[in-house]
């Protein structure tokens, strides 16, 4: 556990770099973390996924939904999801959305 400053805001993060308080998140933080994750700009398609995860996290104790929950919930196809957040979408989406990593296996 520790703090770091992203996009001018000091936020709480855990050892893996996930924000621990979703309320500290904002869109500039998302854009900044996305850059660190190799995503230069967040498109509408990215935001559709991020917004969905933010919404669901309320029911999931601040955790991001699983990839399966995201594809079923947003209608974004698996292939597209892996295209939007290449190389490990499960953690990438959670990190960018300022949420904990998903807890389910599917």
């Amino acid at each position: 556990m520790g703090t770091r400053t992203i996009a001018g805001v000091t936020v709480q993060v855990n050892d893996e770099g996930f924000l621990t308080n979703p309320a500290e998140w904002n869109k500039s933080i998302a854009a900044e973390i996305a850059k660190e994750e190799g995503i230069a700009t967040l498109s509408d398609a990215h935001w559709k996924v991020i917004d969905y995860c933010r919404g669901e996290a309320n029911k999931l104790g601040g955790k991001s939904p699983t990839l399966r929950q995201i594809t079923v919930g947003t209608g974004v196809q698996t292939k597209e999801l892996f295209g939007l957040f290449p190389k490990g979408p499960a953690k990438k989406v959670a990190r960018i959305a300022g949420l904990g990593k998903p807890e389910g296996c599917v």
Partner: protein
């Protein structure tokens, strides 16, 4: 044989902009040798988790495991209660502790279908999709699927028998080449 399958990953001598991206990615390879419903899921679950975490996934289907990619079999994988010492009566919701399903009952026609449906229900309850859909998710997520040449020859099968997403029929030696440095899990 596609040359890209065996070509070694080229690591440049001088690191450019993003050196991390040039590192060889973690790679997990599964060998699926069983064709029962319960033995189809481990590679699906772990392979999906690997893809979600940015790990490369290769799955090699051999012997009975080829049922998992066989168009005619993928929707009909089964679980037999006979000689299955882990399948207890309590799975059916009867609180009977360690009492197993007697083998003498397991041989009654329809018991395999019954056990299969019971397991499919349990799988659906945890939100896991059926095998065909799950496998497609893995393919869409970038998993590479291969069928074992010797098994294909033995069973008289061809690529036409397999679901979309299976890349090729390969030999054991090809599999060794394409999984150099990978972590291999035999199921």
């Amino acid at each position: 044989m596609d040359a890209t399958l065996t070509a070694p990953v080229q690591i440049p001598d001088v690191a450019v902009e993003a050196p991390k991206a040039e590192e060889k990615n973690r790679h997990v390879a599964f060998i699926c040798s069983k064709g029962t419903l319960d033995m189809a899921y481990p590679a699906l679950v772990m392979g999906w988790a690997a893809l979600g975490n940015g790990i490369d996934v290769t799955i090699f289907f051999t012997f009975w495991g080829m049922d998992i990619i066989n168009k005619a079999r993928i929707d009909h994988l089964e679980l037999a209660p006979v000689a299955n010492t882990s399948m207890k009566m309590s799975m059916m919701g009867v609180n009977t502790g360690n009492m197993g399903i007697p083998n003498a009952l397991g041989v009654i026609p329809g018991m395999t279908a019954f056990a299969t449906n019971l397991m499919k229900k349990k799988i659906a309850e945890v939100g896991a999709p059926p095998v065909r859909e799950y496998l497609q998710m893995l393919v869409d997520g970038g998993a590479k699927l291969y069928a074992c040449k010797m098994s294909v020859d033995m069973m008289g099968l061809s690529m036409d028998d397999f679901v979309e997403g299976v890349e090729a029929v390969v030999t054991a030696s090809d599999f060794m080449d394409m999984t150099e440095g990978a972590q291999i899990i035999f199921i």
